[in-house]
Amino acid sequence: MNRTRLWILHMAAGVVLFLVLGMHMAIMHLGGVSHLFAPYAGTADSIQNSLFRDRMPFFTVSYVLLLGVALFHGLYGFRTILFELTLKRAAERAITVVLLVVGLGLFALGTWAAVAAHGMALAGVKG
């Protein structure tokens, strides 16, 4: 993929990150909005309220989306900063591979956690 497309993705990831983080902040800190997604007593991040949201596929997808765009935006930005140090080509290739492996690994782990939380929340409802 050429540099222009990567840059477009980087910018698009930033916009999506802004929207998803905005949603996260609203649910966590704005009472009027959080009551819709946190109907139980206590704070929006209590276990009952978290399990309530984990049951909804929308939130599982949004967690995975947030993880994906945050990892891409952050790691691609970090790679750009490192590349501005005029490194050797071999070092640049090594950095790309390491960041790709780290990013994919963290994404897989986070996706598994989000899907597992969704499964446990549904099992809790049935059980």
Partner: protein, 283 residues
């Protein structure tokens, strides 16, 4: 006119010196220069060379801000020595050094080879599919004043290297193409006679290309010709993005008007005088 002592002031020039064959490395030498109103940094350097130290070396040519040879760091800012008046930038002291972000050949002379190699790499000339049409001296490409305006500002660049010296990305990334070559790319991309944008996109959109720009804007602040490279780079980014998304409306380059009488002569325009020299083939 002989100047009176009252109109003269002494300014100490702190000049960065470097001789590759010397063992001292880089050092700073101070010179006291009598300065009068309107005197430029270039004139101050000439005074030093003529009266105080004949070994001082710098590059200059036109002395009127046209050639771009005398770009140097004056009081920490890249400027043309010929258009910078000493009393406008200095109190009692003036620091003069070579342009940063370049190798130094000697004293105040930077090696601009890397800049010109990058400039050549973006093909800073009219590209068209039909080369014969370009090379033919017959006819002329039609371009309206509005179309000229789209790139005229960027065509004022004199390749002095001040923008390259001020660029914070250039300071760490030697492979970055830099503001001057990228502005030249935008200048030709925006030219309606040109049809080489896709070819230039390979360079300008490369890992060393325009997306390295942080939009610090220093290039535009220091440009002695008001070219505004930062604006050119943002326009270049926009066009690259639109091209990558296939959203840019394809335009054919302007056509060539062949022979006399193709264009319309405005009213009240006097006829051109007769040729003073007859070319071969002319009657």
């Amino acid at each position: 006119m002989q100047r009176t002592d009252e109109s003269m002031r002494t300014v100490t020039f702190h000049v960065s010196r470097y001789q590759p064959e010397g063992k001292r490395g880089a050092y700073v030498e101070a010179y006291d220069v009598p300065v009068h109103e309107g005197m430029t940094v270039l004139e101050g350097l000439h005074y030093i060379k003529d009266n105080l130290d004949s070994t001082l070396v710098w590059r200059y040519s036109c002395r009127m801000g046209v050639c771009g040879s005398c770009g140097m760091l004056v009081n920490g800012r890249p400027r043309l020595a010929c258009t910078t008046q000493i009393l406008h930038v200095a109190g009692g002291h003036l620091a003069v050094g070579p342009l940063p972000n370049f190798e130094i050949i000697r004293d105040l002379v930077p090696d601009l080879t890397s800049m010109f190699e990058k400039h050549v790499s973006i093909q800073p000339h009219i590209l068209r599919k039909n080369e014969e049409e370009v090379n033919s001296t017959e006819g002329e490409f039609y371009q309206s004043p509005e179309q000229l305006e789209q790139y005229l500002q960027f065509a004022y660049c004199i390749k002095c290297g001040c923008c390259m010296a001020a660029c914070p990305t250039m300071a760490t990334d030697a492979r970055y193409l830099g503001p001057m070559p990228l502005t030249a790319a935008q200048r030709y991309n925006a030219d309606t006679r040109d049809d080489g944008r896709q070819e230039r996109n390979l360079q300008t959109g490369s890992p060393a290309g325009v997306f390295r720009c942080h939009y610090g804007g220093e290039c535009s602040r220091v440009c002695p010709k008001g070219v505004d490279p930062a604006k050119a780079l943002q326009l270049l980014k926009r066009r690259l993005v639109l091209d990558a998304l296939h959203l840019f409306r394809k335009k054919e380059p302007c056509r060539k008007l062949e022979g006399s009488g193709s264009g319309e002569v405005l009213p009240n325009i006097a006829a051109a005088p007769a040729h003073t020299v007859q070319c071969s083939g002319q009657s």
